[in-house]
Homo-oligomer: 176 residues x 2
């Protein structure tokens, strides 16, 4: 059975939206969801606020109850019948995220065992056939096929395998 | 540069000794260190206490300030000059352990970056050339060479590559 490793933030969990929620809470400025889909949050906000929002992921609660990226639960549930699914997230940078990430996965992806959850940093340590991630730098030393999950921050990145949604992930794996 | 993945409990961190400390605290019975090196703690204690001590790793504080396994710091520091070192621990089973494990690594192995720390469950996800572990079942689907680190609980296990101490690990890698 081939193995798919899947990143969390911006792939199955909507951390960008949390940035916008906290930004509105702290600075009173609302960012529309459609805008977040087209532009990096750093390019939308007042440049003076950049440093403040950079710290958000290090704060308690940032990763709590994030919204689920559209169609990810259904498509991954289907894929899990034909592939070994691992969740591989670079959580080590944000130790406050550990508990929230685990709770979130148990809640939204209960069909994924704790044995298949990996908190890491450098993803070249992952032994899988595919890695779905929004950060192409993880593919540089990855032993399998990197699949770039589109996000505004990676729009300018040139990578041969790119998917724009979980429906496109489904199609990519249809023939596999 | 070849890569060595290294387990934590009973390989670099002495969790068995913590069991004995808490056992003495709870039941007033002291277990000598030499005894712990020869026998599994389950075979030493009163059988009636088995269920109680099984729960210890799930309790807050169990993984805090564990003793360092002899020579591990020095040997790993030396190995890190010639090999990529990753710490790969099946921490997902004990979410309370996350913070303590990270603090412990930062304190005793400050030369290992957070990017090279992995909390996982099923270690077949680890892409490394070697895995030093006290549980041989992790080697079954591991893609590299498993190196069994001796502990009383694995004394009866038949595995071709076994080391009894960090000095033996050093010797094993001398020619590599």
């Amino acid at each position: 059975m081939k193995r798919i490793a899947i990143d969390m933030d911006e792939v199955i969990a909507d951390a960008q939206y949390r940035f916008s929620e906290w930004y509105e809470r702290d600075f009173g400025i609302k960012i529309r969801k459609e805008q977040l889909r087209r532009q990096k949050i750093e390019d939308i906000i007042n440049p003076e606020h950049k440093e403040a929002i950079k710290e958000y992921p290090r704060k308690e609660g940032f990763f709590k109850d994030l919204e689920v990226i559209e169609d990810s639960t259904e498509v991954i549930r289907e894929l899990s019948k034909r592939f070994e699914i691992f969740i591989t997230t670079a959580a080590m940078e944000f130790p406050f995220s550990f508990g929230h990430k685990l709770n979130w996965l148990n809640r939204h992806f209960p069909f994924i065992s704790w044995k298949h959850i990996v908190f890491c940093g450098d993803k070249s340590i992952i032994n899988a056939d595919y890695l779905i991630d929004d950060n192409a730098y993880h593919f540089e030393r990855f032993i399998g096929q990197g699949i770039l999950f589109s996000a505004p921050h990676n729009a300018a990145i040139n990578w041969p395998v790119r998917v724009n949604s979980w429906q496109e992930v489904k199609i990519y794996f249809d023939g596999k």
